[in-house]
Amino acid sequence: MLETLNQTTFLHTVVAIGSFTIFTIGLVGVLSKKNLFKIFLSLSIVESSLFLFFIGSHFEVGKAAPIVADGIKLFDGHMVDPVPQAMILTTIVIGVAVLALSLTFVVNYYRLSGNIDIDKMDELGEVQ
């Protein structure tokens, strides 16, 4: 029983199903929540689920971290693919920059209007 749990293909299925569930939860949050903080929290959750999916799908049981040290001079078959990890590092940093910018806008908007509900943001739209 526990042996099947350690197989790479099984773990990839777990990663796919798990991150898809988290992705859906986040997306439902983005679409259904009215509070701006909730929307941005949900967006962060969706992003994290993508990162988990990408790193998890490149993981294989028994392979080491792609770090060249202690006499190992080359990336080879004993290590997991380093490219996704480099990509995700970049993406995490971009994500937090975007998040900080959006929360800045939210705080500034709140100071001017006293409102944090997306349904009550009626400054824009067709004039009557």
């Binding site: 929290l41 990162f51 509900d117």
Partner: protein
């Protein structure tokens, strides 16, 4: 062993993600969000991606959580109505 850990943590993450989205109290939402970041840090370590784990711990869980908390304080909102 690693398989059991991954399955357990993934289940926990799903539950935490649901709490983040559904909780009515905003500050506990943010705390759950930081817990979510911590859980994914452990997962990255298990996926043999220690560099991503470090980044996620510092930036994903730490800085974003702090940014959220600070802006919550600035707007003095507590409840998601």
């Amino acid at each position: 062993m690693i398989g059991v850990l991954i399955v357990i943590i993934f289940t926990a993450l799903t539950v935490i993600a649901f709490w983040v989205v559904s909780s009515r109290d905003l500050s506990s939402s943010v705390i759950y969000f930081m817990a979510f970041g911590l859980g994914s840090t452990v997962l990255y370590v298990l996926f043999s991606a220690p560099d991503v784990a470090l980044t996620e711990a510092v930036i994903g869980a730490g800085i974003s959580g702090v940014v959220f908390l600070v802006s919550l304080l600035q707007t003095q909102t507590k409840e998601d109505t």
